[in-house]
């Protein structure tokens, strides 16, 4: 395979698109996966929890 400009550009255009679509799907699936909901809801409370303002150990 000749490693010329057109090849590199072609690879960028095709692989770049696949890469983006795949990453978006992974990200969306993970975020909205039902079993992950509980963990996220708890995480959201982190800044507002009324705990002692000191390290845990």
């Amino acid at each position: 395979m000749p490693f010329d400009h057109d090849t590199v550009v072609g690879f960028s255009k095709s692989f770049g698109l696949i890469y983006l679509v795949v990453l978006s799907v992974i990200c969306l699936a993970w975020t909205y996966w039902p079993s992950n909901k509980k963990g996220f809801d708890e995480a959201a409370k982190m800044p507002v929890l009324e705990e002692d303002d000191r390290p845990w150990r």
Partner: protein
């Protein structure tokens, strides 16, 4: 599959690796092909390198922050071509380390400034822009006429430029300081060597109006008078398109 996410979320290293992966590929895909672009960029046989005096002038242009108000990139738009001249080609800045395309035009574009005005106009304009252009917003650069130009490190500068890819010859590097002096002193013994090493099209003149010791003004005006004249490629491309 979701075991992976579970771990990613809980492991700081995983998060770091994922951020790097996600973020760096985008830039790589856009930038990497530009390094094979040499194959498709216009070839310009007549493209010459900067003379040592022009390199020194370019350094002053950078030092004073001229790039903050002046671009050196004429876009492919009708009004820009009508106002400033043929649009800029990639080849014209191929020896610009770094490029000075600029991002703002508080003052006009300078890509084709070379030989548009006289040396004395430039010297007077840099000395006090408002003497020639009353509405000008440009600072008065009077110190350029006062300050002596430093030439002792010009050889090192050309050598460093060669290290990043500008094709300077050993002879050009060895004679850098001498050529800088010669280019602004047409009557001196150093002058003929400049044309020999950089081509007959090189401007060899007393840029600040005085022969003798070099000032920062000599260097900056030499640089400004060279802008857009390193190659005729932009002009020939335009005629080819017109035909």
């Amino acid at each position: 599959m979701f075991k992976f996410h579970y771990r990613l979320e809980r492991s700081a290293i995983g998060l770091v690796a994922f951020i790097i992966l996600v973020a760096s590929i985008g830039g790589f895909i856009e930038i990497a092909p530009l390094f094979t672009i040499d194959e498709t960029v216009e070839k310009a046989e007549d493209m010459r390198v900067f003379t040592p005096l022009e390199v020194a002038g370019r350094n002053i242009y950078i030092r004073e922050g001229c790039y903050a108000c002046h671009s050196q990139m004429i876009r492919t738009l009708r009004d820009e071509v009508d106002r400033y001249g043929p649009y800029s080609l990639a080849v014209e800045s191929q020896y610009d380390h770094p490029q000075l395309w600029g991002s703002k035009r508080t003052g006009p574009d300078l890509a084709r400034l070379g030989n548009k005005y006289s040396d004395s106009w430039h010297t007077a304009h840099l000395y006090n822009p408002r003497d020639l252009v009353p509405q000008s917003k440009m600072p008065a650069y009077r110190w350029l006429l006062r300050d002596q130009l430093r030439t002792d490190d010009l050889g090192n500068q050309l050598a460093a430029l060669r290290a990043v890819g500008v094709p300077y010859t050993d002879e050009q590097i060895a004679n850098a300081a001498r050529d800088a002096y010669g280019q602004a002193n047409p009557d001196s013994a150093e002058a003929p060597g400049v044309a020999e090493r950089y081509g007959e099209a090189t401007n060899i003149r007393a840029f600040d109006g005085n022969q003798g010791p070099l000032t920062d003004m000599d260097a900056l005006v030499a640089y400004l008078q060279m802008l857009g004249t390193l190659t005729d490629a932009a002009f020939t491309t335009e005629t080819a398109e017109a035909e």
